[in-house]
Amino acid sequence: MYPVIFRHLISASAVLLSATLMASAARAQSRAETLRYVTAATVNTLDPNIPGSTREAFALSMSSYDRLVSFGRKQLNGKWVFDLDTITGELAESFSVSPDGLKLTFKLRPDAKFHDGSPVTAEDVKWSLDRCVTAPVLGKAQLLTGSLTSADQFKVIDPLTLEVTLPRPDKLALPNLATVYPIIINSKLAKSHATPEDPWALSWLKENEAGSGAYVVETFKPGEQAIARRNEAWNRGSPDKPASFKRLIIQSVPEPATRANLVERGDADLAIDLQASDVQALESKGKLKVISTPQYNAVTFISMNNKIPPFDNVNVRRAVAAALPYDDMFKAALFGRGTPLFGASWPDGTPPSGGYPIPQPVKLDLEKARAYLKEAGMPEGFATTFSFNVGQAATAEPMAALVKESLEKIGIKVDIQKLPDAQMSTSINEKKLPFFTEGIVAWLPSTDYFYRNFYTGNQRWNYSSTDNAELEKIAQAARFEPDKAKYEAEGKELNAIHFEQMFQVPLWQPAQDAVMVANLDGYVYQFTRQVDYRNLSRK
């Protein structure tokens, strides 16, 4: 009796074992062809145009949808970053700008197909761009910055040709078509799900993808994960072949320590939002690849509301700028990971460049700070609050403590306020905060763009509530300045006003630390400050 059972057991377990081995071999194979990306954030819509879209949603849409054109890449200090000045065709096989700069003509790729197999036509492109400038979507405000405001500007010439007319030559029109929002949608599919109340199929496209991009979304669970498979027919990448990874998993892992563990053990391939301290530890262990790119289209500020006393006094602002412990803050908040925008020397006292942002000649000098306070008529100092949002606590909290400590030395009493994210954005929008830290980012970073959007008007992004007629005039003029030398001179003027008036204090450009397993290749820092999954491959 026993031996028979025994034999059965052995053969059964042999079958089981071989099945397990085969399964695990298959799993290892599919694991190697899968990119697992972990992040604190979450993809909350498949259409990046929906108000409230997260940056992760932007990133996924870069892979699931094509645009007419896309940005190239360039090397900055040995690291690959996006390049605004090289624009290549994505769905457009070729494009041309008329000599007067008023007409852009796009020839579509004849072989491009949507995920359901139907060809991409100029009609689809027109519908998608019309939607972007007409429907209540995020793209509207973005395309406005490139003089694209009305559906009349997009004209179908033939099934593969589209013409865009501009009211004036605008150097930002073409780059705007490469940003996140002007996705090209399968218009037939989308229209079949449109309703009279929702003619642009906003609610359907939010949860369903109808693109032609490198990846086809398979699973979409907001707050948990999004999974996409490769579109084998996609050939819009620079080497004219499909993306490298067969599968893409974007997973939400809220705890930063867990994300760090996952990447370190090789269970996840890539994370870009680890804590600076973890990044440093992982880098020193040397097992992983860490690519640190200064976010050259972003700036972190200490902002002062120029309309709220005592910050309406330029000498108070100068005093604060001279009393900030820059080096200590840079070390404590960022562990030195980023590009400082302080401690420069301007030998002749004028800005050396017309770019934005540039390092300013500010440094910790308490004597000078006291002198400025005296000049402002407040030698005894004053009391104020310093706010930051909970979401930024990891960097802002140590920074706030140092600001408080240092300003106390010149008599400014600082009360630290930590606000929930929504409350912080509301208070900023209502211009209620006198003194706080915040950051900005521009997708199309150019000097005039920064000054026009972040230093003018009574709107949320004008953190310092700057209202300076001269600055506004120069920035508006620079907007359509075709002459490069003149543009540079205008930029220098703007930078000089900024330094002289010290509206707010640019601190640094934080680095984006992409931590990845050693065999991952091709990472490029993108304007979205997210990963473009199409760039990546395994060595």
């Binding site: 108000p51 405000a141 907001p222 997973q251 892992v253 867990t258 563990n261 996840a268 929008n429 997708w443």
Partner: protein
């Protein structure tokens, strides 16, 4: 028969009397969310190029441009029809989100509670049998440690040891390995769904995924359960009927388990009910650490960004569960102690 009927009638009466409380919770949460500083329209219209116009569009979409009483009326009408609104954060209807996430939270909390009870009751009994002995002090030390170490610390510690150092546990990211396939959702409880699908390997994977977070949560609640068991066992062991049982020479097992424990279990059930409801809402840290897609972390994320609908839906859900658990405790009371029903 009579006792069961009486229990049911009492439960029904209790349920009816809790309805006004539920309504109060509904209105109160609604008002509280609107009083909190933080404008969801501003927050959600925060693309890099969003201006005043975008904010107004979002405000209109959310219905926040209407007056407060009007908003409340619409909200109550919607809730009455089972529509809890739409979450801006996930873009999904709140009812669907909660329906997907509640089983995850319940599965975790129930498992943790079972682990905690299995550990706490014997520990409490042991401690009560030898008060002030080495065992008693040992149990006390263990309980204090469990309570003083916050769950996110013990969670991270368990992850560090069992996942990072030893590699025994699967990666702490949610209910199931991302590479594994999910069984057809019948109940939403993965442990049940895998069994229904007959997928033993999947069941085992899900169980492994569940172990660390469940133990983390259990560690935290063992203390109240064990302490209550000990205290009520002490009272019970010192009472007349136990002395009588001893004097007529019943076996030690019979005295301790059948007589003393049965009489001591009432307060433990009450506490277990309360612990369960609290855990369900308060295990947000465990959910965060283990990327568990539960309701508590969902509500916290929503609260941070002033996303009204999910928070309101969550509070309503929690209130309903609290009512349900209290009803259940009442019914269990009747079974454990028939006098409770008679009274």
């Amino acid at each position: 028969m009579g006792t069961i009927g009486a229990t049911l009638i009492r439960a029904g009466r209790r349920f009816l009397s809790s309805l006004p409380a539920l309504f109060g919770v509904l209105v109160f949460t609604f008002l509280l969310m609107r009083v909190l500083p933080g404008d969801p329209a501003v927050f959600f219209a925060s693309g890099p190029s969003a201006g005043k116009e975008e904010i107004e569009v979002v405000r209109k979409q959310l219905g926040l441009d209407r007056s407060l009483p009007e908003q409340l009326g619409i909200y109550l009408y919607d809730v009455g029809r089972g529509n809890l609104g739409r979450s801006m954060m996930t873009g999904q209807p709140v009812a669907k989100d909660l329906q997907q996430r509640l089983p995850a939270s319940l599965e975790l909390t129930l498992t943790a509670l079972v682990i905690a009870l299995i550990a706490a009751v014997p520990l409490g009994v042991l401690a009560a049998l030898r008060p002030n002995s080495l065992i008693d002090h040992g149990v006390r030390l263990f309980c204090s440690l469990g309570v003083c170490v916050p769950t996110f610390v013990s969670g991270l510690l368990l992850i560090y040891v069992f996942y990072y150092l030893l590699g025994l546990a699967p990666d702490p990211t949610g209910r199931i390995d991302v590479f594994a396939s999910v069984p057809p959702a019948r109940t939403g409880f993965l442990m049940v769904d895998f069994l229904l699908a007959g997928d033993v390997e999947g069941w085992w994977a899900a169980a492994r995924q569940l172990t660390l977070p469940a133990f983390t949560m259990a560690l935290f609640v063992i203390a109240p359960l064990a302490r209550i068991t000990r205290a009520s066992m002490l009272v019970s062991l010192g009472s007349d009927f136990v002395r009588t049982a001893r004097s007529i020479g019943l076996s030690r097992w019979q005295i301790v388990v059948t007589y003393a424990l049965r009489n001591a279990i009432l307060p433990v059930i009450t506490i277990a009910g309360i612990v369960f409801s609290t855990m369900l809402g308060a295990n947000v840290l465990v959910e965060k650490v283990f990327s568990w897609p539960g309701v508590a972390s969902y509500a916290l994320d929503a609260l941070l960004v002033s996303d009204y609908a999910p928070v309101q839906g969550f509070v309503l859900l929690m209130a309903s569960i609290f009512v349900a658990v209290n009803l259940l405790v009442d019914v269990l009371y009747g079974i454990a102690d028939p006098r409770a029903t008679a009274a």
